[in-house]
Amino acid sequence: MIKLVNIHRNFQVGEQTVHALNDINLEITDAEYVSIMGPSGSGKSTLLNLLGLLDRPTSGQYFLNNTNVTDLDETEQALMRNKSIGFVFQTFHLVPRLTAAENIELPLVLAGIPEQQRKDRVAAALDSLDLSNRADHKPEQLSGGQRQRVAIARATISRPSVLLADEPTGNLDQKSGLNVIEILEALNHKGITLIMVTHDESLGARSTRSIRMLDGRIESDTVPGK
């Protein structure tokens, strides 16, 4: 469960203070499917980074699974990112020198999980995403869709409660984009909270809750199709 209370995030740009997030109050329950939409500079990426503990609010409180994570120190936040949060990026962010399997394994390596256990979990993840025959390929040998599937496998290998996706189909053709969305939705059906930033109206329409942002504020919070 996610709860944001009076969140502000200011950036100093030269002499000016930019209110990237301006008094955000938001509650997202487990297994929700939320899309965040809005024009460039509306604060949607800042919100996603904050939810992913990559950024700290200037003021306000952030509760993740009933823990006030704004109080945690750097190491505790790192642990939280490792255990409870998965990221999927527009540009995949795979480590080029590592194979698909090694990329997927990274969160488990950082968590210090023993090797045999890691191998089993990576094999299962590869299998479920139809990547078993690509395990030993380097990212450059994979198609865009395959790369994003590897990234999804990596984001979910630690069994997080929240999956954050930043324009996950932005660099993909329509067919593999759709495939990626279906995978993310299937994960959501199994109980993961899916929060996705997108420009694409048709993608936004698929979610069960659509948040629109403008100038650092939540402009609307609706259920699509109603």
Binding site: T75, R81, F89, L98, V109, L110, G112, S158
Partner: protein, 403 residues
Amino acid sequence: MLLTRDAIKFSWQALTANTTRTFLMLLAMSIGVGSVVILTSLGEGARNYVTAEFSALGTNLVIVIPGRSETSGGNPATMMGVTERDLTINDAVALTRNPDVLRIAPLNIGAAEVSWQGRKREITIQGSSHELLKLRQWKMSQGKFLPKMDLERAKSVCVIGNKVRNEIFGAHSALGQWMRIGDRRYRVIGILDSEGQSLGIDIGDTVIIPVASAQSLFNVPSLFRIFVEVKTRAAIPEVITFIKETLRERHQGVEDVTVITQDAVLATFDRILGALTYAVGGIAAISLAVAGILIMNVMLVTVSQRTSEIGLLKSLGASEQNILMLILIEAVLLSTLGAILGFILGQLGSWAIRSAFPVLPAYAPLWATFASLFVAMLTGVLFSLLPAKKAARLNPVDALMRH
């Protein structure tokens, strides 16, 4: 928590992924360590060489040289225009009167043409006595050394070195032959076994005749040196005083000799060459520091090249400490490998020096080897701390946004 084994594997993969960078850093590090090892082995080799040269003279040795090495004024003898007196055979004999003196050997040196049945050679001739053999710790291969006799007696006998024997007599037996030295004839009574150099003279390439014979051969009344071997090391200072006083008395109150001890000479050379070893080691250490700075530069470039990777690792749950550890392990791996390569390079280098100059025992001192290995690893880590800290503090959002 990230396991050390996995961290090492991850860093190793990062190293092997960029071979050019890794190769350049290894090269810098190994040249640094290698030059310390090679240069200190040269310095140490020179020191050992000189030490061995002087030890070959024998132990507890005092050397008397005619003439004074220090300037002195107000000496009445000098004022009256009296020149230095020669060091004579009688002076040498007088020095045996001290109970602490074990043996003495006078020495005269000259060059003369040596011939036998038409074979001729210009050879260094040493005029000395029976005692020289023990004093110099030489060995005989055939026959006997100069006989024990009155130093004033000029007997026509000679002892020759190995090389002289081979070149003058060839396949013939040398013992008992009459050999011509200059315009006189001497009977060969012994052949030296020893090899190598002694005070710049090749022992194999010399002829030794009684000191009185040498004086008449070269027509010089004075001696070149008097070697005095003292019974114990502790007695050396007393013996030196005795020598100076005895010779001053015999030379009408003028102190016109210089007395040096082998120890003093040895200690001086030892000090000079030891300092030389430190100096060249220090110069070589500069290349180690340069290697360290190079490592820092390359690591800084690495960090900025891998910004997005570091951001990604953070998003996957790597703490600042994890990132710091990964970068430092990379630096430690690099500098350890570089140090090992440098060590091998240095050993090969000093081996090459030993092969090229067999007289020079060019072995790197242990302290220099260990110090350079240690310093290499230390610089590797120290100079990577800054880049590693920079990496650890990267803002993950900025890092992920940059492509």
